[in-house]
């Protein structure tokens, strides 16, 4: 495991910013962090970076204590803050040079990334828009050859075209064998990019889902025109069946759809609707009243 947390907690007086959060991340995985503002995503990332001292519990990256061995931990990772702020007096090229020299990383790689992100490197940071600054910081972050990349809402200030490029860059980094920890509000992006997703709510880790499993899940809704026959034993484990008082039925399928459809074809159903569940449903299960970007 590259990342391990064990009952990791951070309290500010009475406020629990993060409570007893335990999870592991294997090498090469893209892990998404989902949750509304204040859910504890940034606190979790800052604990992993050693910026904050845990109130209790421990976080380890590559076996190193994130707080006590933060310099060694930082050799293993690159980090992009949600609102990246760079030295305002430097231009784009000088910024890339500075961080490349600090890391002893390849400036050529930085320049290639900048070119791909269509950055004007002659412009000073103070003259750049928020989106341009974020792209420049992304180039800084993706340059070093490190096993772990932590991205805190990397696409928050970017236009849709660049968002797509960023998701592509994240996938490429994974293909190079890097592990990515990626926090975002944008569900579609997380679903596109991540292998696994942690859902946080009020500082607690409330769900862990594999995106491939979520993609296989479907919700089937229909009106009953008669009584349902018993569910075949082969399907019992993979479906969840709910009947409501007005003659409707909802089936949540967690596996292959074909055997279920075979059974449903023989049931007294009308107005059948089948839809993929997606991350939105998972998210709304925990955060029902929140409106989120798609």
């Amino acid at each position: 495991m590259l990342i391990q947390t064990d009952l990791l907690s951070k309290r500010y007086g009475q406020l629990a910013a993060l409570s007893e959060c335990s999870f592991d991340v294997p090498r090469g995985e893209i892990l998404g962090l989902l949750g509304p503002n204040g859910a504890g995503k940034t606190t979790l990332l800052r604990l992993l970076l050693g910026y904050l001292q845990p109130s209790s519990g421990v976080a380890r990256i590559d076996g190193l204590d994130c707080y006590r061995q933060s310099v060694a931990v930082h050799r293993q990772l690159a980090y992009l803050p949600g609102d990246a702020r760079l030295f305002r007096q430097l231009n784009g090229r000088q910024t890339l040079q500075f961080f490349a020299r600090l890391r002893r990383a390849s400036l050529e790689r930085s320049l290639r990334l900048a070119d791909r992100l269509q950055l004007d490197l002659t412009r000073r940071v103070r003259q750049m828009s928020t989106g341009m600054r974020q792209k420049l910081a992304l180039a800084v972050t993706l340059t070093p050859d490190v096993p772990l990349v932590i991205l805190d809402e990397p696409t928050a200030n970017l236009d849709p075209t660049v968002r797509r490029d960023v998701v592509e860059l994240i996938r490429e980094a994974r293909d190079e064998g890097k592990t990515i920890l990626f926090s975002s509000h944008v569900l579609s992006e997380v679903e596109d990019a991540c292998d696994r997703v942690l859902v946080l709510k009020a500082g607690r880790l409330v769900d862990t889902v594999r995106v491939v499993d979520v993609r296989r899940q479907h919700r089937i809704q229909a009106a009953l025109t008669g009584p349902l026959s018993p569910v075949p034993p082969a399907l019992v484990e993979q479906i969840e069946l709910r009947q409501d008082a007005v003659g409707g039925v909802t089936v949540i399928s967690r596996g292959e759809l074909a055997p279920l459809l075979g059974w449903l074809a023989n049931q007294p159903l009308a107005k059948l609707q089948i839809e993929p569940i997606g991350l939105r449903s998972v998210y709304e299960r925990h955060h029902p009243a929140t409106s989120i970007d798609e």
């Binding site: 930082h74 050799r75 803050p81 990246a84 702020r85 800084v140």
Partner: protein, 278 residues
């Protein structure tokens, strides 16, 4: 020490440092030259007879202050020169931690494999080098001022060394105090506000302590009581054996407290949580 950070810190601050040094040189040069052209008899009479109450505010008796050495040494107590030193030290020291945290650049820096202590020490090394440069420029300004002065018995510039050393030690103290405040707060504005507040309180303690014998104890509470460039300069030239202990005591106090402030700020920063920028 990290050479990349050191280079960055130098490039960030060279314009301010050159400006402060040139202005310090020009200020003391002009100040000494002007002082040599003014007839001070009227001032001495004015203070001796009319405004005796304010004599307590002077660092040395008015007769000593009116001497060429006293007039030149007093350059190091002029508000203009102290403001230049304050501008450099407070600007740099408050930027060291609170400034970078507030501006958000600390986020990116701390994500690099660099120790927090290295971040503080590199920045502080440049600040202290700047204090030395401004001190040297001020002293050089005094030398140039003396060369072009109209003093009949101009003191040799080397005699102003105690004043310049006391000035540099004050710079070290301000750097330490401001960096310590910077390590405790979240934004640079808070740090600057607290430094100014601290200075105002110190100044009030000094003025009240000097104006009234009943409140002389207040003088001991202010760090400004060990910044006495004129007193040390005149004293060391007149009675070295009596004033040398005072010279060491004053400068050691300023240096010691300044370095303690720097050590404490590094210790605090190495342990504190780094909040997200506002």
């Amino acid at each position: 020490m990290n050479l990349v950070l050191l280079g960055r810190s130098l490039r960030d601050s060279w314009l301010l440092l050159v400006s402060c040094s040139v202005m310090a040189l020009g200020f003391t040069w002009l100040r000494v030259w002007v002082a040599s052209h003014i007839k001070v008899d009227a001032f001495v009479k004015f203070f001796s007879e009319g405004l005796q109450i304010f004599q307590g505010l002077l660092p040395v008796p008015i007769e000593d202050l009116a001497s060429p050495l006293g007039r030149v040494a007093f350059s190091f107590e002029e508000l203009g020169l102290l403001m230049l030193l304050g501008l450099w030290t407070v600007t740099r020291a408050t930027d060291c931690l609170a400034g970078r945290i507030g501006a958000g650049t600390m986020e990116m820096l701390l994500a690099q494999p660099v120790r927090r202590l290295t971040l503080v020490s590199t920045h502080t090394a440049v600040t202290l080098a700047g204090v030395l440069a401004i001190g040297a420029a001020s002293w050089l300004g005094v030398k140039l001022g003396l060369q072009f002065s109209k003093f009949e018995d101009a003191p040799p510039w080397i005699k102003l060394a105690p004043a310049a050393i006391n000035f540099v030690c004050l710079g070290v103290f301000i750097t330490g105090a401001a960096t310590l405040i910077s390590a405790l707060v979240r934004t640079r504005a808070q740090a600057v506000g607290m430094v100014i507040g601290f200075y105002v309180v110190e100044l009030m303690l000094m003025i009240i302590g000097r104006l009234n014998d009943r409140f002389q104890w207040m003088n001991r509470l202010t760090i400004l009581s060990v910044y006495e460039p004129t007193l040390l300069t005149i004293g060391l030239n007149r009675d070295p054996s009596a004033v040398w202990p005072l010279f060491w005591q004053y400068n050691a106090t300023l240096l010691g407290l300044g370095l303690a402030g720097l050590a404490a700020s590094a210790a605090i920063f190495c342990r504190r949580d780094v909040p997200a920028p506002l």
